[in-house]
């Protein structure tokens, strides 16, 4: 093997990489937060809205889920300006991620809403629980238990997917790597290092989400 590995230039650029990773986390966090608000609204519309609303939401879900994220981001960043809407690459990245994640989130939240059992709410009333107790113990907790695994893995998917935002030069880790690469020509080394960084981020969130689930979201089993 004649290839000489040279990680020196890549490691020398660590402030850029740290900055990029931080922006990847911020970008993903913001998109997830807004995406969930949109998803809750969409799920409510889908479960209890009038028929035209349900059809529009269904069409939205199918359209987003069956087209590549890269095309969605191009449509928003390059396509919208021809309609007079000009966005910075970071704003376009957030909007594209929100649109993408909400299409998956709506179905997850809807499943959570539908997991609530009307009979259990009535049983709670019969037992004399107060409305707030019913909401907290009978509605909220089982619903969160039902959607938690899907939502958390959706967040990790979003985090990984955000690397595609480098295609419109949004500020995040993959774009930072692209800058370093074009300066140092150490393509393999740069991308190897940031692949490891993405993996560390995923592993961190897997671990944290797992701990939260274990300690707060398990129903104690009666023996």
């Amino acid at each position: 093997m004649s290839y000489q590995f040279d990680f020196q230039d890549v490691f020398a650029a660590w402030p850029e990489l740290a900055w990029g990773a931080l922006h990847t986390l911020v970008l993903s966090g913001i998109a997830m937060a807004i995406g969930m608000v949109v998803a809750v609204a969409g799920a409510l519309g889908k479960t209890s809205g009038p028929r035209p609303v349900r059809i529009v939401i269904d069409a939205y879900i199918e359209l987003i889920r069956n087209t590549p994220f890269l095309i969605q981001i191009f449509m928003i960043f390059f396509g919208l300006p021809s309609l007079g809407i000009r966005l910075s690459s970071n704003t376009a990245a957030v909007i594209a991620l929100v649109i993408n994640v909400s299409a998956y989130g709506i179905e997850i939240i809807r499943a959570g809403i539908e997991s609530i059992n009307a009979g259990q709410i009535e049983a709670g009333k019969a037992l004399g629980l107060r409305p707030l107790q019913i909401f907290r113990l009978i509605v909220l907790k089982p619903a969160i238990q039902a959607i938690y695994p899907s939502l958390t893995s959706q967040f990790i998917l979003l985090l990984l997917n955000s690397s595609v935002c480098s295609a419109i030069a949004a500020t995040e880790l993959t774009a930072a790597a692209g800058d370093i690469q074009s300066r140092t020509f150490r393509s393999f080394e740069v991308y190897f290092v940031i692949t490891c960084m993405y993996f560390v981020m995923s592993a961190f969130f897997w671990a944290v989400f797992g701990v939260i689930e274990k300690n707060f979201l398990r129903t104690p089993v009666e023996r």
Binding site: M1, S2, Y3, F5, E62, L63, R65, N66, T67, P68, F69, L70, I71, Q72, F74, M75, F78, G79, L80, P81, S82, L83, I156, L160, N161, S163, V164, S166, A167, T174, S187, F188, Y191, F192, I194, T195, Y198, F199, S202, A203, W206
Partner: protein
């Protein structure tokens, strides 16, 4: 800058064959690798199970775009230069191996252990047990999520455009750079992907529903 002509549209739509071919190659490669991963993951040897689990985790925990970049740049270390087509096919095949491996391991796990025990008691060895007893039952469970993953894979081929493989997305970018009608061009491309992916999504969901009814 020139106008967007019908030749451009034919060029874009024609490029869909490269998207489909890349999807097909990646799916075939992924199916071959996926069988190995699934068998290793649910097999007898602890170290093999761990290796397969690690392989799956690595691909689930890193962006597909990085997997493609590394497939493009890593062969250079060994003095092999690959063109974007080979890199995309390699990267997507490995990606699909990990995800199909995980899906199929799940399907193998759903088949009751009594089936393996009964087949072993009848004197069948590992491969006949797997091929004649487990596979026919696991395949039925595995098909809907496999078709669902195929949709992910087809969408994923669009990222091959970033390493320079000219498929549907890259063809659209090329035409857009010359004519600058992004809304029309990417709109058409989105529609093209939708026409390929949506029927598969519907099919996957329908089979899923039929299976869950049959299992009740």
């Amino acid at each position: 800058m020139r106008e967007l002509g019908s030749g451009d549209l034919f060029y874009i739509i024609g490029a869909i064959r490269w998207t489909l071919l890349l999807s097909l190659v990646a799916f075939a490669g992924g199916a071959a690798g996926g069988v190995l991963v699934a068998l290793a993951r649910s097999g007898r040897f602890r170290w093999l199970r761990l290796v397969a689990a690690g392989f799956i985790k690595i691909f689930q925990g890193t962006p597909l775009l990085m997997q493609l970049f590394l497939a493009f740049f890593a062969p250079g270390i060994f003095g092999i230069s690959v063109d974007p087509w080979a890199a995309a096919a390699l990267g997507l095949s490995l990606h699909a191996s990990a995800f199909l491996g995980e899906i199929w391991r799940g399907a193998i796990g759903v088949v009751p252990a009594g089936q393996t025990e009964a087949a072993t008691a009848l004197g069948l060895r590992y491969w006949p047990v797997m091929a004649l007893v487990i596979a026919p039952q696991a395949v039925r469970i595995a098909i809907p999520p496999t078709v669902g993953f195929l949709v992910q894979l087809i969408k994923g081929t669009s990222l091959a455009s970033i390493i320079g493989f000219v498929e549907l997305t890259r063809a659209a970018q090329i035409v857009n750079n010359a004519t600058f009608h992004p809304f029309t061009i990417f709109g058409i491309v989105a529609l093209a992907y939708f026409c390929v992916c949506w029927p598969l999504s519907v099919l996957s969901r329908r089979m899923e529903r039929r299976l869950s009814v049959a299992r009740r």
